[in-house]
């Protein structure tokens, strides 16, 4: 798109008023994150008065066996579900981009349903499904396994959409060249397509991982005794009242998200530069 720069200048510059509004909105977006980080260093055990700087809540966290086992469960859940959903989601993304089949349009549309469905609806639907199957076949005892299955279900569409976007940005003549040179479908995929879409697959996997890490509602309904994750632990603690220790735990999670986001942004920038 061609923009006449000289003429558009007046409308393309921020007035001081817009700047102030934008800065206030950023402050609003970051206020909750800032307050959690700030209060994780607060000496006072109760209340919101600042009584002094301390790192003792982090030390306490290292001794907290509930938080530690919740961290372990969270990681198992996130790694397990991400590895399954990345493989299946990539295959789905590939099928949607490279094949023409009947019902494709419908599948394309329905793929957005698991993304937009309220998480509580998905959670209770799975809870109901698990309990019916359990009564019938005796499988699907609630625990980490049922949680992994649930997470994979909401991760697959996200991975498929990200991978598909990467695929559709590729030059189709590369595939054609590979096939003209005698490679079969699998060889073409493995030696030509796969290396090219790898950044997309990684981005999809990171997205899936973060979604799993952040999920509370679906985990809450599909978890069993002993499969408490960090969000479940945080929720049940917060229900009894916010403590500095929970703020410390949340701060660590927030830092993980910030690092993850920056990595993902860098990956995407690399993505867009390659195409």
């Amino acid at each position: 798109m061609v923009r006449r720069k000289t003429e558009g200048v007046a409308m393309k510059q921020n007035s001081w008023r817009t700047t102030v509004i934008a800065l206030l909105l950023f402050a609003f977006l970051y206020a909750p994150i800032a307050v959690v980080i700030l209060y994780s260093f607060n000496e006072a055990r109760f209340g919101t008065n600042w009584t002094g700087f301390t790192t003792k809540w982090y030390a306490a966290l290292a001794q907290n066996s509930l938080a530690l086992s919740a961290s372990k469960n969270t990681l198992i859940l996130a790694l397990g579900s991400t590895s399954i959903s990345t493989i299946f989601g990539t295959m789905l993304g590939y099928a949607l981009d490279r094949f023409v089949f009947s019902g494709k349009r419908f599948l394309d549309r329905t793929l957005y349903l698991p993304i937009f469905i309220p998480d509580i609806v998905m959670a209770v639907a799975l809870l109901l499904f698990y309990s019916l199957i359990r009564n019938w076949l005796g499988i699907f005892e609630l625990g980490l396994k049922t949680m992994i299955i649930a997470h994979v279900t909401f991760q697959i569409p996200f991975v498929a959409i990200v991978v598909r976007a990467r695929l559709s940005g590729l030059d189709p003549s590369l595939d054609e060249a590979s096939r003209d040179l005698g490679a079969n479908g699998w060889q073409t995929f493995w030696h030509v397509t796969f290396p090219l879409i790898l950044p997309g697959i990684l981005a999809g996997a990171m997205l899936a991982f973060t979604l799993s890490l952040d999920d509370f509602v679906v985990s809450f309904f599909t978890s069993g005794p002993g499969s408490t994750t960090l969000p479940i632990y945080i929720y049940s603690s917060v229900k009894r009242g916010v403590t500095p220790e929970i703020n410390a735990l949340s701060t660590l999670l927030v830092l993980a998200s910030i690092i993850g986001t920056i990595l993902l942004t860098l990956l995407q920038r690399k993505n867009s530069k390659q195409t």
């Binding site: 798109m1 206020a31 309220p118 499904f129 969000p231």
Partner: protein, 295 residues
């Protein structure tokens, strides 16, 4: 891009690639949803079991026509979810417009930085960002003290827990959902149209209405739906910030599946929530397909 070169791909077959994900989604998504829809027509037994006869009672109860005559409890909750969702979306639009324009006008370097700043909260645990408002709006916080002073200390009500806190939490949590698609359309605006309108004597408001708004309408609608859908079905935010006073759809679903153990009724609420989502997606798809008409 020429479609014919790669599609259809005849050298590999579709089924082995498509089936794992497809079967997974059918077994763990389509079937559970079908079960929910089916169960919403069953009755609840004395001990919370799901039993016959088939009935429309659950839906009638949700609409207020229970066995004991008209009861506005559930219609009120349904209405509140829609109103609070719409309110959240409106506030997000009002706040999101200046923010999206602000970011689009920055130099490329600052633009990337500002976009990352919008994306970070989006990736940060919603539970954490929500419970933080309990601290920010607690009676001793300086925000509450400011509000107290501003209102002259008249209202004895604290900022949290309240419906106000729920809306603040939802706006804060969902604002990035609106800003990102909106920014994408603002970025593509053809400013020469605005110049032309302005040269032809249109005032600022008219330039915005006739030359800019039609260009960003698609992004605005997409963003609004992205805010509206999760807001209506929200469970955590009203749970943590409403203090049991601001009950929304998500909360009554949770209630039916835990304390009340009325699964058929809970399923009926899910079906209603699902209907809202499908309607929203339909609007979204419709807008995505007809960008030219909206422009």
């Amino acid at each position: 891009m020429s479609q014919s070169l790669t599609k259809p791909n005849r050298k590999t077959s579709l089924w082995p690639i498509l089936s794992p994900a497809l079967l997974w989604l059918i077994v763990f998504f389509v079937i559970p949803l079908t079960i929910i829809i089916a169960i919403s027509f069953f009755s609840r037994g004395d001990y919370g079991e799901i039993q016959l006869p088939l009935t429309l009672e659950n839906y009638k109860r949700l609409m207020g026509f229970g066995l004991l005559g008209f009861d506005s409890l559930y219609p009120a909750i349904l209405w509140r979810s829609l109103v609070l969702g719409a309110l959240t979306a409106t506030v997000c639009v009002i706040a999101g417009l200046p923010l999206a324009f602000f970011i689009a006008r920055l130099s490329p370097r600052w633009k990337n930085f500002a976009l990352t700043l919008v994306v970070i909260p989006f990736w940060t645990n919603l539970l954490i960002r929500t419970y933080a408002w309990q601290i920010l709006l607690s009676p001793e916080s300086w925000l509450s003290r400011c509000a107290h002073t501003l209102t002259g200390g008249m209202s004895g009500e604290s900022l949290y827990p309240s419906t106000f806190a729920v809306v603040v939490g939802m706006v804060c949590d969902f604002l990035p959902f609106l800003v990102l698609p909106l920014y994408a359309s603002v970025e593509k605006i053809d400013w020469s149209l605005a110049e032309a309108a302005s040269d032809l004597g249109a005032n600022k408001l008219n330039v915005f209405r006739h030359a800019i708004l039609p260009q960003i309408a698609a992004g605005l609608i997409a963003g609004t739906i992205l805010v509206l859908l999760p807001a209506i079905g929200q469970f955590i935010i009203p749970d943590l910030l409403g203090g049991g006073k601001t009950v929304m759809l998500g909360n009554i679903i949770q209630q039916q599946f835990s304390q009340s153990r009325d699964w058929p009724f809970g399923s009926a609420i899910c079906v209603v929530a699902l209907t809202f989502v499908i309607m929203g997606l339909w609007v979204r798809a419709w807008c995505g397909e007809k960008p030219k008409e909206l422009r």
